[in-house]
Point group: C2
Chain length 292, copies 2
């Protein structure tokens, strides 16, 4: 593949940013990869692993002549990072992010990047694992996955097109969506399940007999709670940024649980079985269509 | 391995009963395996797959000279099945079950098997997948897994010992527990997570935009909801049999969700992060100790 960008800057070289770097490098789509972030030790590790080529001394050096800067930090860091990079951005630099929420990222862009809105294209790659850090980065993380773009009205079509090409070079499929749709959809299918898994493990871990309970948990528990191993700061930021949509989803789910509770108390086996059957059908259909 | 039982009768040749048959056969621990159950087509399939050697014509034929009869039916069938087998049981036949709930199985045993209580040893193998049916049976399903026995005061020590040897021949580790402890523990670590997963999929599947939501669900959703593909009748029976303990667990979980909801509404990122961190630590510790 032809080189799509000469100088790539990854801000936050963890699982997501690091995997993007590895994927573009494997595709032969990138020249030099520069990392910058909060923790020098993480950046050293990323360089030692070959995820990035060099560590930027400061923002000015990082951003000078950059073709693309990917903001791969927890969404709670997006606002200060945008404020920091704004004075140093070149007039040609494409900017994007990987945030699991889009409304807050876009609000921060309007606050800090008004001179660069044609080239700041918000995005969210639908990939990840419960692992985090550059040591978990994989060149194939995005292969066959979706990346949702939520372009701004101000975005230049060429900038959007360049970002699409980069994600496609990582093996991903790109789809467009309005940011408010994005935030509601992912509150339902991602943010809420994460909260529910964190909540169950936290609940059980706080019991006097937690040790005994955990010793009898098996494969159903393992899979249900895998995402409770996810990155606490990242999920704190997602929950705070998207809390309105998440509370809405949680309330619908609480109504579902109230219904199930009533069926249990009433000993209504027929309706419970019907509910389980409908869920099973939907889950199996999903698995067949979307490879779950 | 020496043959431990000559004639094994599996009542309900699905994932659990079928895997027990395959495991004992692979261990060389069993002579003849006879299947009996509700659906002739399922039994034919089990025979065609080599899970059982023969299909019993009726209960009398099935149980005559049986060394061990395993009741591997949904727990809602345990009562009528025990009533049916009682008149045909030989005086030496060991009896056990695989029910995910024990209080109801034991109550049924006292109702119907009073002449056989020395040899009716309740058990619950902690294994399974969201798949069901003899075609999903595997000889290694129980390898490295636990089987919980909840022996009755009336049980003969030799009968308990024989059952332990059979499960150990399947590769499992046997532990003893009081039935009421069993039912509370599994309400927390198994029954509740299943209900929560069924509930989430049912909730989303009922939305006007279900199609759109499901199309954006990814790996976190996949693992969280895998158990929503479980057998509806089996889970109906478990929920009805153990509903008192399950409602208790659900109510504790609802209190946890109410706390999380308050943190969301209050925008309390610090306490959310602390909760996520505690859950993550507990989940990682569990994973390291119990291979999740």
């Amino acid at each position: 593949m032809a080189v799509l960008i000469d100088k790539l800057v990854i801000c936050g070289v963890g699982l997501i940013g690091g995997s993007f770097a590895l994927a573009l490098r494997e595709a032969g789509a990138v020249g030099r990869i520069v990392g910058i972030g909060r923790r020098p030790s993480s950046l050293e590790q990323a360089r030692a692993l070959g995820v990035i080529d060099e560590i930027a001394a400061d923002w000015q050096n990082a951003l000078r002549g950059a073709d693309f800067v990917l903001l791969a930090v927890p969404v709670g860091q997006i606002d200060p990072v945008m404020a920091t990079i704004a004075p140093h951005l070149d007039a040609h630099t494409l900017i994007s992010d990987v945030g699991s929420t889009k409304g807050d990222v876009i609000a921060a862009a309007y606050r800090h990047l008004d001179a660069h809105l044609t080239r700041m294209v918000p995005a969210h790659p639908i990939a990840g694992t419960e692992k985090s850090g550059a040591q978990a980065a994989r060149a194939d993380l995005y292969r066959g996955r979706r990346v949702v773009l939520t372009p701004l009205p101000e975005n230049d079509a060429a900038a959007v097109g360049r970002l699409e090409k980069l994600w496609e070079a990582c093996g991903a499929t790109v789809v467009d969506m309005a940011p408010q749709d994005h935030d509601r959809i992912f509150a339902a299918v991602s943010h809420l399940p994460h909260l529910l898994a964190f909540g169950l493990v936290h609940d059980l871990a706080g019991r006097a007999n937690a040790e005994l309970l955990f010793s009898h948990a098996a494969s159903g528990f393992r899979d249900f709670t895998r995402i409770a191993g996810s990155h606490p700061e990242m999920w704190r930021d997602i929950c705070i940024a998207n809390r309105q949509a998440i509370v809405g989803e949680l309330d619908q789910y609480l109504a579902e649980l109230a219904y199930i509770r009533a069926l249990l108390l009433g000993g209504d086996g027929a309706r419970l079985e019907q509910l389980f059957e409908q869920a099973r059908q939907a889950r199996m259909t999903w698995g067949e269509r979307f490879g779950g």
